[in-house]
């Protein structure tokens, strides 16, 4: 089963703007390379008092995510994603979820190699 791509989103729609935050993004949009569909995944981060980033990583791990597209990722979430073998791509501020995904597919995004939040 190929791994999914998670994109931080401001609402559960492919045309929504990318949410600049990782752990506290409104929700994720998951791209399934097999079905070629974008499906929403809720994120408990916005309501979490603590550990929004690690909580989000746990939820992505459970949902077979292998790659994250996010503008910013904090140190704990970064470490957890790295430990889980999940790559992070950034440089998507101001884009829609669909456009961010297209940018990744066209090799236009840079891989995030250190936490930036």
């Amino acid at each position: 089963m190929s791994k999914k791509i998670a994109i931080c989103s401001t609402s559960p729609s492919p045309s929504a703007l990318v949410d600049e935050r990782f752990g506290r993004c409104t929700c994720f949009m998951l791209w399934d390379p097999e079905s070629k569909k974008l499906e929403p995944l809720s994120n408990s981060g916005p309501e979490a008092a603590h550990g929004a980033g690690t909580g989000a990583v746990q939820s992505l791990m459970k949902n077979n995510v292998g790659l994250v597209i996010s503008h910013r990722v904090g140190p704990k979430a970064f470490e957890a994603l790295q430990q889980g073998g999940v790559k992070i791509f950034s440089g998507v501020a101001g884009k829609t979820v669909e456009a961010a995904l297209a940018s990744y597919q066209n090799d236009e995004l840079t891989e995030l190699l250190a936490p930036n939040s």
Binding site: A48, A49, H50, G51, A52, G53, T54, G55, V57, Q58, M61, K62, K76, E79, A80, Q83, G84
Partner: protein
């Protein structure tokens, strides 16, 4: 008797009042407990002879990977997202862990044990002629102060008079600091910030059912809003410490505030009189 000196807004004069209380009430051999463990400062303005340093630890989970099946139950249980379960490993984020022990207790494989994690120290010192100073000092980088505050407050329970120099704010650290006190002195300043944070502190104090009173520091005659708040909440204004550049200057130089402002002694005695009255 345990008196907590709290504020809400930082920099209103908690340490000034706490250390002066200690000095004026030196005959009772008081214990001053600095629970502002992220930046304890009572020790900076008191002459002292250090007597001991004690390590403080708290418990965090340790995974036995020989037993762990990556079932994920621990991560689901953890309210603080301190555990992330991967197919082949479990990540533990100590700084997020609140040491509740639920993961270790409920792990179906008994693969989690709790181990000690060092978070800081308690420094004990004699303040010659005035009593004892207990300082909690959190290790830089540690995110959680309440376990250390709890530990430093457990020391010297037998003392006749315990004064707690609390951290600012109204978060867990302040709540832990003022809890189980007989009385809470809220030091404020007559500014919008002072007033705003005082309201939050009053709410916290009220929820814990601790009786308290206000001390207005840097008083310059204007206090209408503080007076109205005091009236509305039913928490009295016990004292007013006048604004004094001389006091500020002397204090910053490490000189004795009671010498820089001799009337402070009377103000402190009045405050103690009002507290005794309120508790009798």
């Amino acid at each position: 008797m345990q008196i907590a000196v709290a504020s809400g807004k930082g920099g209103t004069g908690k340490t000034l009042l706490s250390t002066c209380l200690m000095k004026v009430l030196g005959e009772f051999n008081p214990v001053l407990i600095d629970t502002d463990v992220e930046e304890p400062n009572a020790g900076l303005v008191l002459p002292q002879q250090a007597t001991s340093t004690t390590n403080v630890n708290r418990l965090v989970p340790e995974i036995d990977f020989g037993k762990c099946t990556s079932c994920g139950i621990c991560a689901e249980l953890c309210k603080f997202n301190a555990l992330v379960v991967m197919p082949d490993k479990v990540l533990v984020f100590n700084e997020l862990c609140h040491s509740c022990g639920a993961c270790a207790y409920l792990c179906p494989e008994a693969a989690i044990k709790e181990k000690e994690h060092h978070i800081g120290v308690i420094e004990e010192a004699i303040v010659p002629g005035f009593g004892t100073l207990l300082t909690g000092r959190l290790t830089v980088g540690e995110a959680q102060s309440p376990p250390l505050i709890k530990a430093v407050k457990k020391k010297k329970p037998e003392a006749e008079l315990r004064i707690i120099d609390c951290p600012p704010g109204t978060t867990c650290a302040m709540i832990e600091s003022i809890s189980n006190s007989d009385y809470c002195l809220l030091v404020t300043e007559p500014t919008p910030f002072g007033l705003h944070d005082l309201e939050l502190s009053l709410e916290a104090m009220g929820l814990l059912g601790i009786p308290g009173g206000l001390v207005i520091n840097r008083w310059q005659g204007q206090e209408q809003e503080l007076a109205a708040l005091s009236e509305r909440i039913g928490v009295p204004i016990l004292a007013r410490i006048p604004f004094s550049p001389e006091l500020a200057r002397a204090y910053m130089r490490g000189q004795d505030p009671l010498e820089a402002m001799p009337e402070l002694r009377g103000i402190i005695n009045d405050i103690m009189g009002r507290i005794k009255e309120a508790l009798s």
